[in-house]
């Protein structure tokens, strides 16, 4: 036996050794059938027992199983899904016309009663999803053969938006029959879950009776792989076809690969230096503006994030309709920063600040060190404290801090920044860390809530965003991106920046 033959024999030998040491049988992955199979590397491991009100619902949505009355498209527009149309009857009243002939995998028909029961169940759980809670929704009831009526507590133009969230997805009533929620065989989407392997993944097959038409793939699989580097390696080895959220450090290698395409899109998420506007010296706008001018956001995007993100132009990415026109990156200008500090009248002895960061996003510790260095150039003394988020949260919520680095999504419950703006910058906002409060901004937000036309709302958001940047309420650092690696054999895959869709009816794979 020559050396080459020896090498060929090694895998078989290793398998033999493995079988010998194993205790008990283990699952062996099934082979692909006609139509092909795509394996999706998911970073999140569901842990909430498939409670629809939790982020577990997003995994079901990405698996092509869970659908709601509406859906959010790739460009954030709201499209019909299980409801074929809707109408706002009055400022607080909406009617949704259900699609005809939709059935769950178990054969149960989708009816207004089923929809109404499940949405009411959501309203009655101990912790309803913030976007569809009793504080927003007054009632949900069947109102005809195919109609569901939803009444809100206050005028609300976002109801279709709220119903596009995976948290308002509809499962067959049988999914709730036992003492735990069981999505296996109880969805309406293009794929049916045939098996759940706890804490490892989901096995899918196409829904032959999908209301949306023919589904191309025969099978699918979702594998939970929490480590980003491992997801990257698995997509390179061909063990999986799609890897979600590739870490910046692995991007260069992925981009060199002949077998993969890397899709990078801007995420609705901004990393910012939150400044406590309530206490000295950061209650002084000139000091905040000095901090803003001293920080090199372009350099940070290039050096700390290895060019995988874009420098921030404000709260919102320039590619969104909420960024002010001509919004641009504020360049580092130490001269201007020193001048602003001098104008502020704050003595140098008061420029001792604590900068908080949290370990759940490891890059924030590096970012803190860079900001510390850049602010020291102004003569500021900055002490860094890096801890688990849970440990610094009480300080943040009570306003007992100077500066904190945070990564925040700005489209959470609905595909509209109203929620984030109200929570982060409204006088009564529950996450108003900066302590910014201006009745004029509150009035603008109140006005926006009642505006049906998106463009009219967007004009208000642009105005507020410009104001936040101008007054340096916080220092916006970078707009985050999502990078996903996809095997060349996969067709019709698109990154959904709102993290709602992966398996859809047109997804295809060529044979490897």
């Amino acid at each position: 036996m020559n050396a080459q033959n020896c090498l060929k024999a090694v895998p078989a030998l290793l398998r033999g050794v493995a079988v010998a040491v194993m205790i008990g049988p283990m699952a062996v992955s099934a082979s692909a059938a006609s139509g092909g199979k795509v394996i999706f590397g998911e970073l999140f491991t569901p842990a909430s027992g498939w409670a629809v009100e939790t982020i577990d619902a997003y995994v079901l949505s990405r698996a092509g199983c869970l659908e709601g009355l509406a859906r959010m498209d790739y460009d954030a527009t709201i499209k019909p899904a299980l409801a074929e149309s809707w109408e706002q009857l009055s400022p607080t009243e909406w009617e949704f016309q259900l699609r005809e002939g939709v059935t769950f995998n178990d054969g149960t028909a989708l009816t207004p009663q089923v929809v109404s029961d499940q949405l009411n169940r959501l309203l009655n759980v101990a912790t309803p999803p913030p976007g569809f809670s009793p504080s927003v929704i007054e009632s949900v009831e069947p109102a005809g053969e195919r109609v569901v009526r939803i009444v809100t507590k206050a005028p609300d133009v976002f109801v279709p938006n709220r119903l596009a969230s995976p948290n308002t997805g509809i499962l067959s009533p049988a999914a709730f029959a036992g003492d735990r929620i069981n999505p296996v065989g109880h969805c309406t989407g293009p794929f049916e879950i045939v098996r759940e392997i706890p804490r490892q993944g989901l096995e899918l097959k196409r829904n032959e009776n999908y209301w949306g038409g023919e589904v191309q793939l025969a099978e699918g699989e979702v594998r939970y792989i929490p480590d980003g580097q491992v997801r990257s390696m698995m997509v390179e080895t061909g063990e999986i076809h799609i890897a979600r959220q590739i870490p910046a450090a692995a991007l260069a290698q992925m981009e060199r690969s002949q077998k993969l395409k890397v899709h990078t899109v801007e995420a609705p998420r901004t990393t910012s230096l939150y400044l406590n506007n309530r206490r000295p010296p950061l209650d002084n706008m000139k000091v905040r503006q000095a901090v803003q001018s001293a920080i090199d956001v372009a350099g940070i995007a290039e050096a700390v994030y290895e060019g995988s993100v874009s420098p921030a132009v404000g709260q919102f990415s320039p590619n969104t309709p909420w960024a002010p026109e001509n919004a641009s990156v504020i360049p580092q200008d130490l001269e201007r920063a020193r001048q602003l500090l001098a104008e502020s009248g704050v003595p140098a002895s008061e420029l001792r600040l604590e900068l908080l960061a949290y370990v759940e996003r490891p890059v924030l510790a590096d970012l803190a060190a860079v900001i510390q260095f850049q602010l020291q150039q102004l003569g500021m003394q900055v002490n860094i404290r890096v801890s688990e988020y849970g440990a610094i949260e009480p300080q943040l919520l009570s306003g007992d801090f100077d500066m904190v680095l945070l990564s925040r999504g700005y489209l959470t419950d609905v595909a509209d920044p109203i929620g984030t703006l109200a929570e982060d910058y409204g006088c009564n906002g529950s996450y108003n860390l900066a302590g910014f409060c201006d009745p004029e901004v509150d009035a603008q937000l109140e006005r926006a809530r009642a505006l049906v036309e998106p463009e009219e709302r967007n004009a208000i958001y642009r105005d507020i965003a410009a104001r936040l940047q101008e007054e340096a309420v916080n220092v916006f650092l970078i707009h985050e991106t999502i990078s996903e690696a996809v095997a060349n054999t996969v067709e019709n895959y698109q990154v959904h920046v709102y993290e709602r869709t992966a398996f859809h009816k047109d997804l295809e794979v060529n044979s490897l």
Partner: protein
């Protein structure tokens, strides 16, 4: 012997009682509010309103005094009911049992690798003391002890999965998927076992009864197998039991990197998510196993070593 066994069981019960109380306190002595941690994990967001937090606190009964919560929990735990996970609302016992099975396979496989290499390597190194095999064994075993798992694991994936394509990178889907994590986990105990085996074998080879066996004309191989190996193995068996107890819940890095759904990952996630029932049941399971394994080791010692047997009998 019965008194010895009874004494061991009394120690086990006492250890468990102390551990359960300490385990119960863990989530409350940190800076993090466990209810907030739980809510963040459930909803995947930082901005949670106070009403949601309080509703969750009430739902979980975490507004009650700590001692009431502990006694309630202990009463149920004694009957094997560790309650439901705060995250999934599913019975904790099922989650722990499923993770424990995985961890037992991984731990036995890795220690099996370590033992299979260390015993012959350590013995041969002792027999050829000062020779090139001995030098190579010493150097390699020291390197194995020093290599950190967070480096070794990705490297082994790079070599065996990416470049050679022999084994899967991660997951727990069949016998092949056990090899890489078990190998990565086995290196450090392999290094320790080899060093201890070598030192122990050198001691045994220099002991009077081995010298006497030689002088009676027994061959080196027969002397080693009949008299040397059994005695030299005792310290390695002790080490084996210590590592067994440690790896059952302490392979977090390997389990996260290789996406192995074992005890380490379960307990780690429970800590991060504030899932107290899972954390408590997981730690109780790990500690129970550790104490049981130590007890079994003690009993094995009495079988293997007559001196220990006499000591226990007279104690």
């Amino acid at each position: 012997m019965p008194i010895f066994i009874l004494r061991r069981f009394a120690v086990l019960a006492l250890a468990l009682l102390v551990v359960t109380f300490l385990v119960f306190l863990i989530p409350y002595i940190g800076e993090t509010d466990p209810v907030r941690a739980l809510a963040r994990a459930r909803f995947g967001r930082l901005d949670l309103d106070a009403a949601t937090i309080e509703a969750l606190r009430l739902e979980l009964g975490m507004h009650r005094p700590l001692i009431v919560q502990y006694l309630d929990w202990l009463r149920s735990a004694v009957t094997g009911d560790f309650g439901n996970s705060y995250m999934s609302r599913e019975p904790v016992v099922e989650q722990v049992w499923s993770a424990l099975k995985v961890s037992v396979v991984l731990t036995l496989a890795s220690l099996g690798f370590a033992f299979a290499v260390a015993v012959p390597a350590g013995s041969i190194a002792a027999l050829r003391q000062g020779g090139s095999f001995d030098m190579a064994t010493k150097s390699l075993s020291q390197a194995f002890v020093a290599v950190p798992e967070y480096w070794l694991a990705p490297m082994s994936i790079l070599v065996f999965a990416l470049y050679l394509g022999w084994l899967p990178s991660a997951g727990w889907r069949g016998p092949e998927s056990v090899i890489l994590p078990a190998l990565a986990l086995s290196l450090r105990p392999m290094g320790y076992f080899t060093q201890v085996m070598r030192a122990s074998m050198i001691d045994v080879l220099n002991s009077p009864h081995i010298v006497a066996a030689h002088s009676r004309g027994l061959s080196v191989r027969r002397t080693l197998i009949a008299h040397g190996l059994r005695n030299a193995l005792l310290p390695v068996i002790t080490l084996f039991s210590v590592w067994m107890a440690g790896l059952l819940g302490g392979a977090v890095v390997i389990e996260v990197i290789f996406a192995v759904p074992g005890m380490g990952r379960l307990v780690y996630s429970a800590i991060v998510n504030g899932d107290i029932p899972v954390l408590q049941a997981g730690l109780v399971a790990i500690v129970t196993l550790a104490v049981v394994i130590n007890t079994v080791t003690d009993l094995a010692y009495t079988v293997l070593n007559p001196v220990v047997r006499i000591d226990n009998a007279t104690a």
